[in-house]
Symmetry: C2
Subunit: 194 residues, 2 copies
DNA sequence: GATAGTTGCATCAATAGAGTCGCAAATTGT
DNA sequence: ACAATTTGCGACTCTATTGATGCAACTATC
């Protein structure tokens, strides 16, 4: 399966570049209109529709490839923060910044997690679990309030990630700092309803 | 245009009931799969596909009707809280609870705001503006932190509304209480990164 | 029971999109 | 310059979906 000559390697590298161009175009088009046609995706990628069909056997295959690609980047983003060994607050910040970097460019593809195949679903479940462990650690370290439902806290965190990824009014680090600050302290002055 | 006999009134009332049944079914089906066919919607509504086409000239017309319906309910939910005259914190809680009640049942239809017609877009812009005024009032009253970007605060609020509407693990009032508490105080113990 | 309105069903045409194929032209490495 | 590969283009089939229509059956009201 591996290339044996430099020629083959160069050509394969070109192919992969085309594939990546199509994936990026698909992300751009489908994030605006999930029902867009292959024609529109091909046009955005600057290639003919037939070329897209040559690279991806079907529409589903293309979408699956997007999910797979985004999932890989997602897992890398979490791994890079070493959430198991880093202090919880630092890990939270690092993960946030890294994930935002991915999600800003692959928003649609990342929303495919639920629809994705067994492979990708497993990776997502794994990440979910690591996030859960991180939140438990943070709670035990006194970073998170003990009177807040952990599941809700994580949901809030995901919602803020999603929101921050939409508002591209700053770089990932700035967004992450603001996000974590909001997550932990809220936007109020400390008064409570209850 | 108005009915003149009791007979006509009764029949029209039946028609409107059918229309409403279809709208509800469309919400249920399209929230799971935005690309669902008219056939699937009709089946979910328990009517023939032709009946749906009799009530709504086209697919777009059906979707527009959903957007219009949800927009009306949305506006009512905000109005009922009297955000202009009620103290900010109370208004915030009331609006949250009312909007959640609508959004839990009309999640898909409410996401159509951006795609909707001029009419609906105007109503949404109006609500947006009233929300902005409410947040300004809340800030001036010392409820909201002055060092937080107001636009970001509102975005966070919308994100939490969206998230809370997805998690149907409690009634609207409970969700609203938790949401506002999280919005104002966050999920942390008060430590800051900076 | 007569009537007006609504619905279900079968069927039709029109359309858009997915997927396939062959061939000429362009690209790229050697 | 040559060979391998990829691409664009045009044409094609096939299928799903939309939207329209005529007719018989049903329902509620009078």
């Amino acid at each position: 399966m591996k290339e044996t000559t430099t020629s083959t390697r160069a050509l394969r590298s070109d192919s992969e570049r085309t594939v990546h161009t199509i994936l990026e175009a698909a992300e751009r088009v489908l994030s605006r209109n999930p029902a867009a046609s292959m024609e529109q995706i091909a046009e955005a990628a600057g290639v003919a529709r037939t070329t897209v069909h040559r690279r991806f056997a079907s529409r589903d295959a293309l979408v699956a490839a997007m999910a797979s690609w985004a999932t890989r980047r997602f897992a890398e983003a979490v791994d890079a923060a070493h959430p198991e060994t880093t202090p919880p607050l630092v890990a939270l910040y690092q993960i946030t910044a890294n994930v935002l970097r991915v999600k800003i460019d692959w928003s649609f593809a990342m929303s495919l997690a639920l629809t994705a195949d067994r492979e990708a679903a497993h990776v997502h479940a794994d990440i979910e679990e690591r996030c859960e462990r991180l939140f438990v650690k943070a709670r035990e370290a006194g970073v998170l309030r003990a009177d807040v439902d952990p599941a809700w806290a994580r949901r809030v965190y995901y919602a803020l990630i999603h929101e921050a990824a939409q508002s591209r009014d700053a770089d990932a680090d700035t967004l992450a700092a603001r996000l974590v600050d909001t997550l932990l302290r809220g936007v109020g002055t400390g008064q409570s309803l209850t």
